[in-house]
């Protein structure tokens, strides 16, 4: 077929320890566009892959900070300017009463940012990805441990990468071929 092209290579590893070792070797060999897939997060994998800490906290923190102030000011604005209403002789700007709602607004918007931000950083939802060409890859959510290298990586070479993955203990090495 003319449109056949390789989009990546997938290799399977036996257990979390082997995957961790493989990740270290991939990192040392200079690969960037690769990922280690596992059914659960593996402790120490970020370090092994040379990954930096997620920046999600820097998205949620500012949202929390801004939204708690917004909530507080919004309550003050509605009860003093937009719709002043004297109830049981209480002062219009009763800041003591605004805490609960300002807090709720902060938590709600921060949680939304955490979820949406996580999906955005992970580029999800994404229903089409080279790793899904492999049938074996279905094991990843059960008890499979995989390393995938994308063809876009600078180090990527169809034969050399395959040989390298084999040399670090990968089995069932598979080419991820797009057929379209």
């Amino acid at each position: 077929m003319s449109n056949e092209r390789i989009e990546g290579i997938l290799a399977e590893f036996k257990n979390p320890a082997e995957l961790l070792k493989a990740a270290e070797k991939m990192r040392d060999a200079g690969y960037k566009d690769y990922d280690c897939h596992s059914p659960f997060p593996i402790h120490g994998m970020d370090k092994a892959m040379g990954e930096k800490r997620s920046i999600l906290g820097w998205m949620v923190g500012p949202v929390a900070f801004v939204m708690v102030i917004f909530g507080f000011l919004f309550e003050g604005w509605t009860s003093t300017i937009a719709y002043p209403l004297v109830i049981s002789g209480k002062p219009l700007f009763s800041y003591q009463a605004y805490g609960a709602v300002a807090f709720a607004i902060m938590v709600l918007t921060s949680a939304l940012t955490a979820l949406v931000g996580m999906l955005a950083l992970n580029k999800l939802p994404r229903f089409h990805h080279p790793v899904f060409y492999s049938d074996r890859f279905a094991k990843v959510s059960d008890d499979g441990f995989f390393v995938s290298v994308e063809a876009g990586d600078k180090q990527f070479d169809r034969e050399k990468t395959k040989a390298f993955l084999e040399s670090i203990g990968g089995t069932h090495i598979e080419e991820l071929i797009a057929n379209d």
Binding site: P16, D46, E51, R53, V101, F127
Partner: protein
């Protein structure tokens, strides 16, 4: 050569018993939990679902009639303007708290045993809060203007009164529901991917494929995922304490004797966790038995939960005692009367039911044998569920029925519609819960796998 410490040489007393028993592998966990959602449920499920769905229909029917006729169909009278609807609201919100405590606070404290029960408990939270939200929603009377509660710009240029605790409630409980739902869904994503990968039929492949958002389990994804999970846990942690505190201010900021006390927020929170754990345990005992999950939800999990109930039960007992003490110590005649009236007045039967169920019966958990006996704990949790409903009944109804003016006193009795709404809300709760255990993984597979000894890369150094 560095010094090596053999794990075996450490005194075995310090070693925790394994969280998961029965020599499970990653695959056996996947199989055990996913297969529940993939096979046809037994007759028991169908029967339970029919009953629950029938009761839920009663709920919707009663709500329909309520909208048609008005809140006069309830047993409300002149002093008792808050009846069962508010009792049920506080009861259901309270039930939810255990789920959030297990999913958020125990996560922050690295209590790894939570992984076996957290999905389950979070689902219970969401369904309980749905039941809770119905009651204040229908209690407003004119439901067609319920949108007044939200700060929506409108042609009347009208805004809600943010100084009212009832409005705080709208935000607190609304936020609680939304955040719980987001937290639950975040936790579900890897497990939905498992169901997607195991799916045989096109329909299941499509549905779980869409719901799992194309999750690939790559570490570059786990990195963000784990931080999002931690942040959501961190955001939910204050919610456990704040939501029921805000609910308690509905009462505490009023001037009614018996309501106007500063002990209410911590007292309500302790009661919420107490009742929530009782409900989690009631449901977990049944589900564990029916689906054979004895190796994943072990007796050790139950014992830990029983200890939490013993603790929070005593906090509640302390609050009951302290309310009495302050009523006497304040020298306020109205306060003193209200509390004497609770214990010896027309609602004494409800008060002593509450004390018996919430304070006396849980003391049985001091005995290790009872903490580890499934029939015993099942019965005790039912008592606690009943007792905690009565606690809210005592607070709401006995305080209102006899306030400052004896000429306005009246006795409150529920009507058939109060009863149908309470029973119906249980129907809705169980309908949703049964659907959940039928169609979604009721135990967080990826999290359980993560706490198994095989998940630790160091495990293989010793065993190879």
């Amino acid at each position: 050569m560095s010094v090596t410490v053999k794990n075996n040489s450490i005194t075995p007393v310090l070693e925790e018993p394994p969280l998961i028993t029965g020599n499970q592998t990653f695959a056996s966990i996947t199989e055990k939990i996913s297969s529940i959602t993939e096979t046809k449920p037994g007759k028991g499920w169908a029967l339970g679902f029919s009953i629950a769905a029938f009761l839920a229909l009663i709920l919707f029917g009663s709500i329909g009639f309520l909208f048609w006729e008005g809140v006069g169909i309830w047993g409300l009278n002149n002093p008792v303007s808050w009846g069962w609807a508010i009792v049920n609201f506080v009861f259901w919100v309270g039930i939810g708290h255990a789920g959030t405590l297990i999913s958020a606070i125990l996560f922050i404290f690295r209590q790894r045993w939570r992984t076996s029960i957290n999905r389950f408990a979070e689902a219970m939270t969401i369904f309980a809060v749905i039941c809770a939200l119905i009651f204040p929603g229908i209690h407003v009377g004119r439901v067609w203007v319920a949108y007044f509660m939200f700060p929506i710009p409108n042609q009347m240029e009208m805004w809600p009164n943010f100084r009212s605790p009832l409005l705080w409630d709208v935000f607190a409980v609304g936020t609680y529901f939304s955040v719980s739902l987001m937290f639950w869904y975040t936790g579900l994503i890897p497990d939905l991917a498992t169901l997607r990968d195991r799916a045989k039929s096109m329909l299941r492949k499509r549905v779980f494929g869409i719901l799992s958002l194309g999750w690939r389990g790559g570490n570059k994804q786990w990195k963000h995922y784990e931080l999002a999970y931690l942040l959501l846990a961190g955001l939910s942690t204050p919610l456990v304490l704040s939501v029921h505190s805000v609910v308690s201010t509905d009462f505490a900021t009023s001037v009614i004797p018996g309501w106007h006390t500063t002990i209410f927020p911590p007292y309500f929170v302790a009661g919420a966790i107490f009742s929530g754990f009782a409900m989690v345990l009631t449901l977990a005992i049944i589900a564990r038995k029916i689906f054979g999950l004895e190796h994943i939800i072990t007796i050790n999990h139950f014992e830990k939960m029983n200890k939490i109930m013993l603790l929070t039960g005593m906090m509640v007992g302390y609050a009951y005692g302290m309310e009495f003490f302050i009523a006497w110590y304040s020298g306020n005649d109205y306060e003193t009367f209200t509390f004497l009236n609770r214990a010896f007045g027309p609602y004494a039967w409800a008060y002593w039911t509450m004390i018996t169920c919430n304070v006396f019966i849980p003391q049985l958990f001091w005995f290790k044998k009872i903490r580890r006996s499934i029939p015993a704990m099942f019965v005790i949790t039912i008592f606690i569920n009943i007792g905690m409903w009565f606690e809210r009944f005592v607070i709401v109804v006995s305080s209102l029925s006899r306030d400052f003016l004896p000429s306005s006193w009246d006795y409150y009795a529920p009507t058939i519609f109060d009863i149908s709404l309470l029973v119906g809300s249980f129907g809705l709760f169980f309908t949703l819960f049964l659907l959940f255990i039928r169609y979604l993984p009721m135990i967080a597979m990826s999290e359980v796998k993560g706490v198994m000894p095989q998940a630790d890369p160091h495990y293989y150094e010793k065993h190879d």
